[in-house]
Amino acid sequence: MRGVTISVKPGQSVALLGSNGAGKSTLLKAVSGILLPSKGSIRFEGESILGKDPSIIVSMGLAHVPEGREIFPLLTVKQNLLLGAYSRLDKRNVKGDFDLVLHYFPDLQRLLKMEAKVLSGGQQQMLALGRAIMSKPRLLLLDEPSLGLSPIIVKEIFSILKKLQKDLGLSILIVEQNAKLALNLSDYAYVLELGRVAMSDSTGNVMNSRDIQEFYLGMHQDSQIGKKRWKNRKTWR
């Protein structure tokens, strides 16, 4: 990646769009300290977090929900959630946040004693989100929260995310293949292409852009394209 500048203001939600290999996940990993960028600067609330250990970055209030959920399969759901609060210093409020997470994700309530590996994909994603909330973040990095989930579950998860964002005043930086969902959740969007920012604007403007409609939202008008697309050809003769 080169020459990418991205900022998320407090309380703002930002979507990061782009095709495979554009560098979206890499960017998130660099922010949360999993990867060390060779150059550049990363600041969180004015403080540089470049090169800090991920555990310190989490304790500063920045939680990363990675792609593919990444739960602890053999620990119980409850243990998974409590580990989210591992780096917190205010131990006394952990119990309250535990109840808060169960309030937002009521499905997890009856699963608390089960090993996390028996959960369905959607429940695992809720667990991963709940675990991130347990660290009491002010900025949430979400990497493909809809990956491999059914449309109904995805809808549910996004409505919960919307509620969390509103109630807790969370800032969110979301990477999502499903551009429509991501844009619905956020107020600002960046489009990455091959490691650089191709476009950045408020969500409304991005949605109205022809290129975005064509490439990411799947709404294309035939008149717009001179040549017939190969996809629409009936035969190759």
């Binding site: 999993i34 929900v65 620990l75 989210g84």
Partner: protein
């Protein structure tokens, strides 16, 4: 009975293998030699001919020394090669095993030594069955040690975090667990486990610098138990410990040393994930 006792020792060494493997994804081939060194240290501290400290004082002291050796191996050697391929770490641990064997030989000599404990060589006769007190002690201590470890890994915050690292290292760093620090702590723990195994080994038989080679059998035990599972490692150790004397009796003592590996092959053919499997298929 003596099979159970040596099974306990195999199990503890196997436990050391699994601990390190789970936390750092590397295999510490020096685990057997760590045990041997721990055995020598306890002999050196407790025996009359050396320091002659009181036995109950020598045990914690010996364990602390082993923890320090293990931790400094991690700190001085392994942290410097962090990020290198696993094979580098594996070869370094093999080298550490050779170095420990050499030092043990130079310091304490190559003649077998045995520990003088209050219970060594005493026997208990129960309804016609003669039991060695030392062996009973070994079994009781292993059970207590295992229960302690179980409580540590299931109920303490740090123990649960270690389990989390072993199950998913990436997720562990995502939720803010200080992975590096806890990995170093795992080396401390592995040193203590090796020291305990050494104490048990020394109290049930003679020790010379080459006994670290039971590490190979313990490695087989860890694989039999399903590499990666803590209870599996102990179970695998017990299986090998019990089968060995039986096969010595019914097949021939020369063949008994083959048994661990025959069991290993059988397990790998029949139940490749081990007795207690922890392999999961990853959903994408």
């Amino acid at each position: 009975m003596s099979g159970l006792a040596s099974g306990c020792v195999y199990g503890l060494v196997a436990l050391g293998f699994v601990l390190i493997y789970k936390a750092t994804e590397a295999i510490n081939f020096a685990q057997g030699d760590f045990m041997m060194f721990g055995a020598f240290i306890i002999i050196w501290l407790a025996n009359e001919s050396f320091l002659g400290l009181p036995f109950l004082f020598a045990i914690p002291f010996g364990l602390v020394i082993m923890a320090l050796i293990s931790a400094s191996f991690d700190k001085l050697v392994l942290q410097r090669v962090a990020g290198e391929p696993q094979i580098v770490i594996v070869i370094l641990t093999i080298a550490a095993g050779f170095i420990l064997r050499f030092f043990a030989g130079v310091i304490w000599g190559y003649e077998p030594l045995s520990l003088e404990t209050p219970i060594v060589g005493k026997y208990l006769s129960l309804g016609g069955v003669v039991l060695s007190l030392a062996e009973i002690g070994v079994i009781v201590l292993t059970v207590m040690f295992t229960i302690t470890l179980y409580i540590f890994f299931s109920f303490t915050k740090m123990g649960v975090a270690l389990m989390a690292i072993s199950q998913n290292q990436l997720a562990a760093s995502h939720v803010g667990i200080p992975v590096r620090k806890l990995q170093s702590f795992t080396w401390v723990l592995a040193g203590i486990v090796a020291g305990s195994a050494g104490i048990l080994y020394a109290s049930k038989g003679a020790v010379d610098p080459s006994v670290g080679l039971i590490g190979i059998k313990a490695f087989a035990a860890a694989v039999i138990g399903g590499f990666g599972s803590l209870p599996g490692a102990l179970l695998g150790g017990l299986v090998i410990g019990i089968v060995e004397p039986f096969s010595a009796r019914f097949i021939g003592s020369g063949y008994s040393h083959l048994m661990p590996y025959i069991i290993l092959l059988l397990i790998l053919f029949l139940k490749p994930n081990g007795l207690i499997s922890q392999v999961r298929s990853k959903k994408v």
